[in-house]
């Protein structure tokens, strides 16, 4: 056959290519290129003839009939095929089909997704009505894999799937949020609890330091997203607030999600497949009647866990105790902070009654100028929290005929945050159109237009910046809510970067407007039923525009600053072009071959700008007239560009669906590397044996399905910023006398490594798919071993080099794991059913091949809180180890650390933390340079998710439990607890403070008014972050009556985050301040607290 000759040619091209030695490979490619394209054109022309020939067959008998489900409803879109022939059709809107069969001996095959396949012999019938049964088995489902699709039963790779309807059951606002706990080996972390905040995902353990986020592919095209620019009040590099890259997708628009995990599945994505690939397919119209669907969800959220802080009484007691201790142990000046007498108030300069602690119990007596009568304190956390209301509406109209389908949906989401003036709004449309113009030609386009508005409050910032969560914790409860002297008090507090949390929230503005245009499309030429050419394109535009204003009432903008404003925008544009030639053919009854060859080109650029000013004449204009600010900061902008070119191919071969074989190859060229390392090759081999097709297994009568899979292959990572191999002269101005002059200086950020190259992951996977009892119970087990070499990492270099970091390749990470997924229809009864869907994943991770320890910076002042060390996992926390407290002078004297301390100062160490002398030096020196060790690990031992679904008649009830066990959290918030005289803190620290009486049980050092306490980063700041959470409880009822105006109405009520079991002391253990950065996972930095939500919703279809 001529077609197969064509394919052979392409195979030769690939073969030849493989044998060519490394040096010649590149030149070969350029020679090969015109050949590839010439080949494409040739095939194109040839195929035109072939396919016209293919449709001129004559037929004998015409068979017609109606296909229904068990309830007697028509099933449109069912594929009806003549067995062992290419002849096929599908049912129309009324479930009616007509097909011509060659002879009465012919057999018709009726296939429809989600239903058991039925085969019927034609014999002498001209009418064949068929009833299809809904299947338990998912094996016949067609799943999308990269650059193609395959029957689930024929997969050789490890692929996890989630259906759209399962996704929306947990009421997620975003798609990636909805995946939490759903798929074995897929770990989803919320960055924090802010509406619309970023979410990060790790598949099968972290294996890269330059970001372990998987590649997201929506409707066949990879997604890139813009970050957000800085704000007026803080420097850009310390702003950790993130927005979700997948927020533009409405979960209601999702048809299915496939997560590609092993090399057999991901190698087709070559240089970007190393972290796994998430393929997201949006809903297309279905052949059949036009369908109108309406979904509405409303909810009320409140904080899941409130940190208990000191009330005014305890706070005042603490202030006095701190002063007394200071005098007693450190010879500090005595003077009670809360004396209960008339004195000059330090903030207001008024002579006024300063209360004693007890006054806050009984109410401050009258006559105080600075406190209202009866004042008992302010709960500042309460002043910024609220019960937040959310609403989510989706309307979809879809339908189609054999000629084409359409789906149009609109979505409006308004999610209030539990902190006042924070929230997220989304307006989106998804328009998917597919059209079969002729048997030869079809095309489709999927367009997502999305506008989102993030209203943010300052959370998730490093500890050295002001932040409302920190403010709410530390702002004194003795301050009056509507204090007329608030400004003066705040200025004193502002020295420690604390401000009135209520004012901060109410008088600052931080809005990000995100615009997204995401268009993917294709045109396809079907040369024959088995050979087609598809040209894909994708255009992806994302702009995040951020506006920021601090008015005169907040300390960042208070006179004489007179308001501070900034505007900035970051935008990415990405164009993807892909040409695919696909071939799919069954030879005889036994051999099944499918192959695809692709050329792909991607070009992306990123632009950002930022303008800032302060000193405004008025607050009225906010950030809308930056030019009116007297103090203008230098405007900043930047443009970056990168491109990726790839050639790839895959061949699947199946023998009787029993032995399955997949081979992948991809060659990628990236602009990010220097000429010597621009190109790299990736590939994989996958094998599967469907043992249940073997007679000896069938004879066991135990398995309804049994498949053994294995794969090996390589994938890469190039997740670095452009220009990593270039020294950069950056513009820097320098004032000389009164004149500011231009200058150029070498960027200190990167000590360039010219030999920078691709990071490569080699993965072996062994999987077993088992089905029992007609697939009522199915179990999938996978074990894998992933070895990532030449890690791309930014290593800290000695400051003596004049550089801070070096982007280079070194080190190896090994991930080994076990994944187990179980699906069981435990009870299947027409009236009552119970389904269980669970997964659990174990992953071990180890770093090797480093020349020495590599340290990871959290923020200024936390330069090396985490370590990469040979033999230790990624996410190792590095710090001091504590050994209780010094309870008396003798104990201080006994410690060689204080041997040179004069006798009269020994007492100053009583009640202070004792650190373990890890290096054991005789002088007892305690130093961060020699006495730190690994004190924790943020990687969980295992994560799991379990969904139970019960159906009783038309009532459904489900609950979803999810958990993460064995992971530590690096709680930077507790670093703020220095037990001083001011700044509020949690009650547990107060209750655990060291005093002479509580010395035996103390958990925190003594209170002091002194400021030179030395507290190291230690195991105190590392906590067990394990949690088990009742994530969703859902109860719903389906009305299904023709009498109603709608054909089905599903009404439900649900609760999210109802219960959480954890020992974590702070707000929520599901926290991840460094977003997608896998090496610094599990850090809590003033995270926006998580919320508990009660929802009510309706899904109706007409």
């Amino acid at each position: 056959m001529r077609k197969s000759e064509g394919l052979l040619k392409s195979g030769q091209c690939t073969e030849r290519h493989k044998t060519i030695d490394r040096g010649k490979r590149k030149t070969f490619f350029f020679e090969c290129l015109p050949k590839v394209s010439g080949y494409l054109l040739l095939t194109l022309t040839l195929s035109l003839f072939i396919c016209y020939g293919a449709y001129s067959q004559a037929t004998a008998i015409s068979v017609t009939g109606r296909v229904t489900d068990t309830r007697g409803e028509s099933l449109p879109g069912v594929t009806v095929r003549v067995k062992n022939s290419t002849e096929s059709t599908s049912t129309n809107n009324n479930g009616i089909y007509t097909i011509k069969v060659p002879s009465p001996a012919s057999v018709l095959v009726f296939a429809f997704i989600g239903f058991d396949k039925v085969e019927r012999a034609v014999r002498n019938n001209t009418t064949l009505n068929v009833t299809l049964q809904e299947s338990n088995s998912e094996l016949d489902e067609v799943v999308i894999i990269g650059y193609g699709s395959v029957r689930k039963g024929d997969l050789t790779g490890a692929v996890g799937s989630v259906k759209g309807e399962d996704l929306v059951n947990n009421n997620p606002i975003s798609v990636n949020q909805g995946l939490q706990g759903m798929i074995a080996g897929v770990e989803v972390n919320r960055n924090d609890g802010a509406p619309g905040a970023g979410i990060s995902m790790t598949i099968r353990g972290a294996n890269s330091f330059s970001g372990s986020e998987p590649l997201y592919v929506v409707d066949d095209i990879p997604v890139t997203s813009a970050g957000i620019s800085g704000d007026a009040g803080n420097s850009a590099d310390d702003a950790k607030q993130t927005v979700n890259p997948l927020a533009f997708l409405n979960p209601q628009d999702i048809e299915s999600i496939q997560v590609l995990k092993d090399a057999s599945a991901t190698a087709i994505y070559g240089s970007r497949g190393a972290n796994g690939v998430v393929l997201i397919t949006t809903k297309k119209g279905k052949v059949g009647k036009d369908k109108v669907e309406f979904m509405v969800n409303t909810g009320v959220s409140s904080i899941t866990n409130r940190l208990e802080l000191l009330g005014a009484y305890d706070y005042a007691i603490r202030g006095n105790e701190a002063r007394l201790n200071y005098n007693r142990y450190e010879d500090g000046t005595l003077g009670l902070l809360w004396p209960g007498r008339v004195q000059i108030d330090e903030a207001t300069n008024l002579v006024s009654y300063k209360p004693k602690p007890e006054d806050f119990l009984t109410g401050v007596p009258s006559g105080s100028l600075t406190y209202p009568e009866g004042f008992t304190g302010t709960d500042w956390l309460n002043t910024i929290l609220r019960n937040a209301v959310s609403q989510d509406y989706t309307l979809r109209i879809s339908g189609g005929t054999e000629k084409g389908t359409y789906s149009l949906s609109g979505n409006y989401t308004d999610q209030q945050g539990i902190i006042k003036r924070s929230g997220y709004k989304r307006y989106g449309t998804q328009l998917n159109i597919g059209r079969k113009v002729s048997k030869l030609f079809e095309l489709g386009i999927n367009t997502n237009l999305n506008y989102a508005n993030y209203q943010m409050v300052k959370t998730n910032t490093v500890q050295t910046q002001s932040n409302v969560m920190n403010d709410a914790m530390r702002y004194a409860p003795t301050n009056v809510f509507d204090d007329p002297y608030s400004d003066l008090r705040e200025e004193i507090a502002a020295a420690s970067r604390i401000s009135n949390p209520y004012k901060s929230v109410m008088n600052m503005k931080d809005e990000t407007r995100s615009v997204r245009v995401y268009t993917t499309g294709f045109a396809q030429l079907n040369f024959t039923p088995s050979l087609n050419f598809r040209q894909r394109f994708g255009y992806n535009y994302n702009s995040n525009e951020r506006e920021n204003f601090y008015g005169r009432d907040v300390h960042q903008g208070r006179p004489p600053i007179n308001g501070r404003a900034s505007e900035g925008e970051e935008a990415t544009r990405q164009l993807t072009l892909e040409s695919l030639l696909s071939y799919n053919k069954k030879f005889g009854t036994k051999h099944n071959v499918s192959a695809v060859a692709v050329a792909s080109f991607e070009d992306a650029n990123r632009k950002r700008y930022e303008i800032k000013a302060s000193g405004f004449p008025t607050d009225i204009n906010e950030n809308f007239n930056i030019g009116s600010g007297l103090v203008q900061q230098t405007p900043q902008n930047r443009k970056e560009e990168n491109s990726l070119m790839s050639f790839l191919g895959r061949v699947n071969y199946g023998y009787m669906s029993k032995y399955l074989f997949t081979v992948n190859f991809r060659r990628d060229g990236s602009s990010k590397f220097s000429d010597q390392n621009k190109w790299a090759n990736f590939g994989s081999v996958g094998l599967a044996w469907t043992a249940s097709e073997e007679m000896f297994i069938k004879d066991l009568n135990m398995f309804s399905f049994l498949k053994l899979r294995t794969s090996y292959g390589s994938t890469g990572n190039q997740g670095i910023n452009p220009y990593g191999t270039k020294y950069q002269m950056i513009s820097v101005n320098a004032p000389i006398l009164d004149l500011v002059q231009s200058g150029f200086a070498l960027n200190k950020n990167n000590m360039v490594d010219q030999g920078l190259k691709w990071e490569t992951t080699y993965q072996t996977d062994l999987g077993l798919d088992m089905g029992f009892l007609k697939d009522r119970l199915s179990v999938t087990v996978d074990v894998y071993r992933k070895r990532t070499e030449d890690l791309l990492q930014t290593m800290a270099v000695a400051p003596t080099t004049g550089f801070e970091t070096r982007l280079t390749n070194f080190g190896t990470v090994l991930n080994e794991g076990l994944e187990l997924s179980v699906y069981g229809a435990v009870i299947q009864n027409p009236k009552f059913n119970w389904k269980v869907n669970g997964n659990i994943a174990f992953n071990r991770n180890e770093v090797s091949g480093l020349q020495g320890d590599q340290f990871l910076r959290l923020y200024t002042g936390m330069e090396s809180a985490m370590v990469l060390r040979n033999g230790q996992p990624i996410g190792s926390i590095y710090g001091m180890v504590e050994d209780g407290f010094y309870d008396n002078e003798a104990e201080v004297r006994a410690d060689p650390r204080w041997r040179t301390l004069p006798d009269d100062r020994l007492k100053s160490k009583i009640g202070e933390i004792k650190y373990v002398n890890v290096d054991g030096d005789a002088e007892g020196v305690i130093s961060a340079s020699n006495d730190r060790t690994v004190i924790g690990n943020t990687t969980p031992d295992y994560t799991f998710g379990l969904t139970n679904t019960f159906g009783y008649k038309r009532l459904t009830f489900s609950f979803f439990v999810q958990g993460s066990i064995g992971n530590d959290i690096l709680n930077t918030n507790s670093l703020a607890l220095r037990m001083g005289e001011r700044d509020n803190f949690p009650k547990f620290a107060f209750d655990g403070r060291w005093t002479e009486e509580t010395a035996a049980t103390a958990t925190w050092p003594r209170l002091t008014a002194g400021t030179n306490r030395e507290m190291f980063f230690s195991d105190r700041n590392v906590e067990d972050g394990s949690f088990v959470r009742l994530k969703t409880v859902n109860i719903g009822y389906t009305f299904n009556s023709k009498k109603l105006f709608a054909s089905t109405i599903y009404v439900y009520g649900s609760a999210n985050n109802l219960l959480t079991f954890t020992n974590y002391s702070w707000y929520d253990p599901d926290v991840n301040s460094f977003a997608a950065d896998a090496s610094r996972r599990g850090v809590d930095m003033n995270a926006y607290p998580n919320s508990r939500t009660f929802n009510f919703g309706i899904r109706a279809s007409f």
């Binding site: 500090g332 020295a495 004489p560 103090v631 902008n637 560009e641 101005n733 800290a796 400021t1011 030179n1012």
Partner: protein, 575 residues
């Protein structure tokens, strides 16, 4: 739609058919340039130079308000709000982030200078003496950076060229003597390379030969005083308060100096002589009288206020100043905020601003008519809560409402004319200097106040100190009196002193003259009297811990160096 798709196919096919993969994968920079794109011209040389100069205003130097904390705060005289002093200010070096910025910024300055020198040397379109002058400035920066490092950390790695040119990324620490030898080597080069102030090509405001000579004299002096053994000094100091918290006046402390670690091999007498001679070279070309600022020639400016006026910046007495751009996050310094306070539109001082002041003990070092406290200290100020304050308490009657007679006395003497101004107490009761106050806009946190790294007055004091040590008391006193005369302090007589008392007096004069210009911590250290003086205080008036131990004689290396440098595996002793 179809049309667009076809166009894309066409575009893709074009890419393939032309085989232009190489081009498609080229990395094009948009927002920076590559070093090769720097030209060979006087303008390009200026761009290179400004790139290095900009380093002072960034990150660990002055942008994050870091540099002057280790540089200034670890000494007896400075005081203020104690929460500002919790790191280097109270001896917590082990955990101090300030020290990371300090170390890294100095090495960034060195690294950038090293990187630029060969590029300047290879220029052919710039006159040779212009190139030399520029390299002289870079050598000056390098020498100062190493001088600042070695005084603070002891032995430090010597990076003499750039890692970009193949220097190893991991350098071991060189001994104190080796570091000083290198400092002297490059300062001598610098001295020969830089234009003198009188050279027609000298640009006002820039570093001149005189600055290099003074820096060299300062280095010699440092080596000499550190190496001198067994010498006696009298320092005014002692506890700031008694057990009841009442303020105490200073007492003379008789101390015997220690030899500074690493300075044992230095011949003190020889280096004092070198210091004197080098300072003399500058004095010989300087204007012997008091000058107004118009002239570019080196010399003392005629009075204290003119010295710190905007018009004097970078001229005459100011041998090296670091300039600032007001309001800018990148280029503005916070010196006014730190040392003088920040003010609102009504001229009221913001609470919490001005945390770096001087103690009563320092104030007591002066005669009451000395311009350095009469004009040099902020006496009368209003806080933004309208509290009216006067500093110091001793210049005001003890009661809040003085009788008319006393009021009149203080009015004529000190300008204290309003009984509603109560004396400042607590951490507001500190002497804030006026050095950083003549700025364009005092309401800004970042103002245009420059940092006075080196002044001719110090050249004279270096000379005086060195001359005394080589037994020329008369010469020493004459130069000392030049400095005192400008501030209307009573001249002193050679007959009033012996070697020890003059040594002590000159050190005290440095305390008076150069207060809060980054000298006192280093004077204490180089004279080997740091522990003696600090421990005599204990906790100061504002409860800042001044007690120190042996380990405090050297700063702790920042952890980033120890973890990032394979040649350095341990910290300074005790850290």
């Amino acid at each position: 739609m179809k049309k667009i798709i076809n166009l894309k196919i066409l575009a893709l096919a074009m890419v393939f058919l032309t085989g232009s993969c190489e081009k498609a994968l080229e990395e094009k920079p948009y927002s920076f340039i590559s070093p090769e794109q720097m030209e060979d011209s006087p303008e390009a040389m200026n761009l290179w130079m400004n790139g290095v100069r900009s380093t002072f205003l960034r990150d660990g130097f002055f942008r994050y308000e870091v540099f002057n904390r280790p540089y200034e705060m670890d000494c007896d005289d400075i005081t203020g709000n104690r929460s500002f002093y919790n790191q280097t200010g109270s001896g917590n070096f082990g955990n101090a982030d300030d020290l990371r910025g300090y170390w890294s910024s100095l090495y960034l300055l060195i690294g950038r200078s090293n990187y630029v020198i060969p590029s300047l040397n290879s220029m052919s379109n710039v006159e040779r003496d212009e190139i030399d002058n520029a390299i002289g400035e870079l050598n000056f920066y390098k020498a100062w950076a190493y001088f600042t490092l070695v005084r603070a950390f002891g032995p430090v790695p010597l990076s003499k060229t750039s890692v970009v040119y193949g220097e190893p990324a991991n350098l071991p620490r060189s001994s104190v003597a080796e570091v000083y030898a290198y400092i002297i080597e490059i300062l001598k080069e610098s001295e020969a390379q830089l234009f003198a102030r009188t050279n027609a090509k000298y640009k006002v405001g820039m570093i001149s030969q005189e600055a290099a000579k003074t820096m060299l004299a300062k280095v010699y002096l440092n080596m000499a005083s550190g190496g001198l053994s067994g010498a006696q000094l009298t320092v005014m100091g002692g506890p700031h308060k008694n057990a009841a918290g009442q303020r105490l006046t200073s007492i003379p402390l008789q101390v015997t100096k220690d030899v500074v670690a690493g300075h044992e091999s230095f011949n003190a007498a020889e280096y004092f002589r070198l210091a004197r001679d080098k300072a003399k070279e500058v004095i010989d070309v300087a204007d012997p009288g008091l000058i107004s600022v118009a002239g570019a020639k080196v010399g003392l400016i005629n009075n204290w206020n003119n010295l710190w006026s905007k018009a004097s910046r970078g001229k005459a007495e100011h041998l090296w100043m670091l300039y600032s751009e007001q309001g800018k996050d990148n280029n503005g310094m916070v010196l006014t905020y730190h040392y003088c306070g920040q003010y609102d539109a009504e001229g009221r001082m913001l609470a919490g601003s001005g945390p770096m002041g001087l103690s009563d003990h320092w104030y007591d070092l002066f005669e009451e008519t000395d311009r350095r406290i009469r004009d040099g200290v902020i006496h009368k100020f209003t806080m933004n809560n309208n509290a009216k304050r006067w500093y110091p308490a001793k210049e005001q009657t003890p009661t809040t409402s003085p009788d008319p007679e006393t009021l009149n006395l203080y009015k004529t003497k000190y300008g204290y004319d309003d009984p509603s101004f109560r004396h400042a107490s607590g951490d507001q009761g500190i002497a804030r200097v006026t050095k950083y106050l003549d700025v364009t806009d005092k309401t800004l946190r970042r103002t245009d106040a420059p940092y006075p790294f080196l002044r001719y007055a110090e050249t004279l004091l270096i000379y005086a100190e060195a001359a005394n040590e080589v037994d020329d008391i008369t010469e020493a006193v004459s130069k000392l009196n030049q400095v005192r005369f400008r501030s209307e302090a009573t001249p002193v007589e050679p007959g009033d002193f012996d070697k020890v008392s003059l040594r002590s007096f000159i050190l005290e004069e440095r305390r008076r003259e150069l207060a809060l210009e980054g000298n006192r911590p280093w004077d204490l250290r180089r004279w080997g009297i740091y522990l003696q003086v600090m421990n005599a205080i204990g906790n100061d008036n504002n409860n800042i811990v001044k007690s120190r131990e042996q380990k405090h004689l050297l700063f702790a290396l920042p952890i980033v160096e120890i973890t990032g440098n394979t040649e350095i595996n341990e910290n300074n002793p005790g850290w």
